[in-house]
């Protein structure tokens, strides 16, 4: 098995998960409590990666990161190297692609928190932000952990967007799923099979963990 690809995949999955905890939790908290008229638009944007073919998403991300776009040019002028076909570009694409896998379970878990508990905290003088960390998050923890685990597993196995945005550069953008594709193209079925079996095992374990978390009562 391609150890370099394994390391890269885990690094990508871990960083994507951390980034989505930071970005996804505020978005989910907002979705869970907002009564804004245009909220469905935001929900649709978040869910878009679920239904779009990875090639479509990858294509737009690639164009956005390329040296022809203002964003791509700005990146080059700041960091001195292009975003497309780099690990950073891959990370950015993964974050966008895995957004619904994090935000939707987060939002579901947060909206299941009894609003009276949040109100009780407010009447006890505790600010909104502190209430989120002291009441909502601990109670929604199983759902948030499930979302994080799902994000990790999903990033670990993603293929289409990675191929479009990252290509196949050893040590930079070549992830496990690309390695499998590569091995099959070279008719190296033994390597492909080992890697595939590994991903299957990881995915299965992750789902078992996710579902057992979901069944656990919130009492802790």
């Amino acid at each position: 098995m391609d150890v370099e690809a394994l390391r890269l995949s885990f690094e990508l999955a871990a960083l994507t998960t951390i980034a989505l905890l930071v970005i996804g939790l505020p978005v989910a908290a907002w979705l869970a409590s907002s009564r804004w008229r245009w909220k469905p638009m935001v929900e649709a944007v978040v869910a878009l990666p679920l239904v779009l073919p990875p090639t479509v998403l990858g294509f737009y991300l690639l164009v956005a990161m390329g040296p022809m776009s203002p964003f791509g040019r700005a990146w080059i002028s700041i960091f001195g190297r292009p975003l497309a076909f780099s690990f950073e570009g891959l990370l950015l694409a993964s974050i966008v692609y895995s957004l619904p896998f994090a935000v939707q379970p987060f939002a579901a878990a947060l909206s299941a928190v009894d609003p009276r508990l949040v109100e009780a905290s407010h009447t006890l003088g505790v600010s909104r932000l502190a209430t989120f960390f002291r009441v909502s998050l601990p109670i929604a923890a199983p759902g948030v952990i499930a979302g994080a685990v799902l994000t990790f597993a999903h990033t670990l196995g993603e293929f289409g967007v990675v191929l479009m945005v990252g290509g196949n550069i050893r040590g930079e953008t070549r992830t496990l799923s690309i390695a499998i594709f590569d091995a099959v193209e070279q008719l190296d079925y033994a390597t492909a099979s080992r890697t595939a079996l590994f991903l299957l095992a990881v995915s299965f374990t992750v789902l078992v963990v996710t579902y057992s978390l979901r069944r656990r009562p919130v009492l802790g």
């Binding site: 009780a120 009447t123 006890l124 003088g125």
Partner: protein, 362 residues
């Protein structure tokens, strides 16, 4: 701590129903103002607006000279800064914390050692000291209520708001906690506002009472006065029990309680554990009138008096009899005609002992 609560708010709900409540009440330390009304009358909406949990569409709220809400001026003091303790109907204890964690929740502003002291002190007051290390999941209804009260009281609020505090409890526990809660609220030294749709609860716990019907405050006054002298037929229908008489329990005779209101003696069933002061409640429908003096009847209470007023209400006549106490009787029109009822006519009011309900005070 005392202060005048001034509320004049409007809150509209989709579908047309809404609340248009205004109230101007001095709240005494240890005093309990009851917001009474049928479900959907807007009493909880009003309480939540005072707490700062809901934002009315228009109007203003002030307490103790401090403006909490003013739609015109764009003022909305958040719930966090109002220092109004809130007791939720189902108590809303934090399930991920211990009892101690719940009680200490609103004490983040205190130093660690002060916090511990305050938790102990409040827990002692509510007799939940032995529960501090426990999770909230295994607590009984009564324990949950006491823990929720301890949590609300620990930060020393200026005002305590209680939303149907006894409705989540089963019958026997409710009876037991009613007396306890009254003693506690009076002992606290802060004013309380309590929402209920239960007459007995209103009588047992309240000092003053505001009656809400369809989102409008129809009457405010001392509890017994509101019950015995409703300002109009709408309030009369809502409060249901027209005759509420403050009495002193004088003793027990043949298994019946003797309750005295001045010179008038009333016999009633013994509800058990009665303190000296109580309200005797009689529904107007249960008062029978006859031309005095009548033949022997099974009714234990015979009160001689004169008709003070007659009000026709469709097929019924509301008759007020002055018999040392003012007693309201609801009789049929034909019944009234047969007796030839007129103001000044001497009559006897008959009430069965079972129809006299005693509600303890204190």
């Amino acid at each position: 701590m005392t202060g005048t609560l001034s509320v004049d708010v409007r809150r509209l709900f989709p579908g047309g129903a809404g609340v248009r409540a205004s109230l101007d009440e001095p709240l005494a330390a240890g005093g309990v103002l009851v917001l009474f009304g049928p479900s959907g009358s807007g009493k909880t909406t009003l309480l939540r607006a005072v707490a700062g949990l809901d934002r009315p569409d228009a109007g203003s709220i002030a307490f103790g000279g401090e403006t909490w809400f003013d739609a015109a001026a764009g003022i909305h003091v958040p719930a966090q800064l109002r220092r109004a303790g809130f007791l939720f109907q189902e108590f809303a204890l934090f399930p991920h914390l211990t009892v101690g964690g719940n009680v200490a929740f609103g004490l983040g502003h205190l130093r660690r050692d002060e916090r511990g002291g305050r938790v102990k002190e409040t827990a002692r007051l509510l007799r939940v000291e032995h529960l501090l290390g426990r999770r909230t999941a295994g607590l009984s209804g009564g324990e949950r209520q006491r823990v929720a009260l301890a949590r609300a009281l620990a930060p020393r609020p200026r005002l305590l708001l209680l939303d149907e505090p006894l409705s989540a409890l089963d019958g026997p526990t409710r009876e037991e906690l009613r007396g306890e809660l009254r003693a506690l609220l009076h002992h606290l030294g802060i004013p309380s506002i309590l929402v209920t749709h239960d007459r007995v609860e209103a009588l047992a716990l309240g000092d003053r009472m505001a009656v809400l019907v369809d989102g409008v405050v129809r009457q405010v006054g001392p509890v017994d006065r509101v019950f015995s002298a409703p300002v109009d037929d709408v309030v009369a229908r809502v409060v249901g029990t027209e005759n509420v008489v403050p009495v002193r329990v004088a003793g027990v005779e043949d298994g019946l309680v003797v309750a005295e209101a001045g010179a008038v003696r009333l016999l009633a069933l013994d509800p058990g554990r009665l303190p000296a002061d109580a309200f005797a409640c009689v529904r107007a429908e249960e008062v029978i009138l006859e031309r005095a003096p009548g033949a022997a009847t099974s009714a234990r209470n015979h009160l001689a008096g004169v008709v003070a007023s007659l009000v026709h209400e469709g097929p019924l006549v509301r008759v007020t009899v002055d018999c040392g106490i003012r007693l309201v009787a609801l009789v049929t029109r034909s019944g009234a005609e047969q007796l030839g009822l007129a103001v000044g006519l001497p009559v006897a009011a008959l009430v069965k002992a079972q129809a006299v309900r005693l509600v303890p005070r204190g």
